[in-house]
């Protein structure tokens, strides 16, 4: 059985799809993390975010995270979906869902997955402001 769903897409992410993938009668809970595009960075108004990826490697790294989470937290299934391309304020760049027999495992798996994704998965965002644009985390 496939216990991981990994996706990078330029289409709108689908929360229902991530939910349906992990849902199972054996589970007592499903946890979801939904990332959303915030309208400011350090007091500066963000107009939109542009996500670019090294797609084949990003998919591999997301798969690794999912497999580690399965082993580490005793979860049943996990979905990690990430968007690419231009996103507007309020749009969803990332959805992570995890199902487990007991809720604690699901919470921990989601937190682990988003924290690790932000450290290891080759995806970059460029913040667009009304007066320019900046690659996030790029400069000292």
């Amino acid at each position: 059985m496939i216990r991981t769903s990994i996706k990078i897409t330029s289409e709108k992410l689908n929360l229902q799809e991530c939910y349906a993938f992990v849902e199972d009668d054996s589970c007592g809970g499903i946890s979801a993390f939904i990332g959303t595009v915030r309208n400011d960075t350090q007091g500066k108004k963000v107009t939109q975010l542009d996500f670019s990826t090294y797609k084949p490697m990003a998919l591999k790294e997301m798969q690794k995270i999912a497999e580690i989470a399965l082993k580490k937290f005793d979860i049943y299934k996990i979905a990690i979906h990430h968007a690419e391309g231009m996103l507007q304020i309020g749009d969803i760049p990332v959805i992570i869902t995890a199902s487990a027999k007991h809720r604690k495992s699901a919470f921990l798996a989601c937190e682990f997955a988003i924290d690790t994704l932000k450290e290891t998965v080759p995806i970059w965002k460029k913040e667009h402001f009304s007066d320019g644009e900046v690659w996030v985390n790029a400069h000292p």
Binding site: G35, F51, S52, T53, Y54, P56, M57, A58, K60, H82, P93, V94, I114, L117, K118, E119, T120, V121, P122, I123, W124, K125, K126, W135, V136, N137, A138, H139, P140
Partner: protein, 80 residues
Amino acid sequence: MNINTLFFGITTDLIGTSNLELQLDHAMSIADFKMLLMATYPQLKNLASYAIAVNENYATDNVILKNNDTVAIIPPVSGG
């Protein structure tokens, strides 16, 4: 020796392209490759840091490059 070199994120802007075919006249480690890259493209010094991936896997400085490897320059990631 032919190395397909990929640039992402801010490095695409710094180098001005996302893909270069680099010819090396002898085998070298990632550490040597990084020195060569910095010497050829000093604008990369504007980066906070960067990682290297060889054939879609993160690689440490001691890895030795082979002919036709794909090397990716990975600036600090910011997904999520």
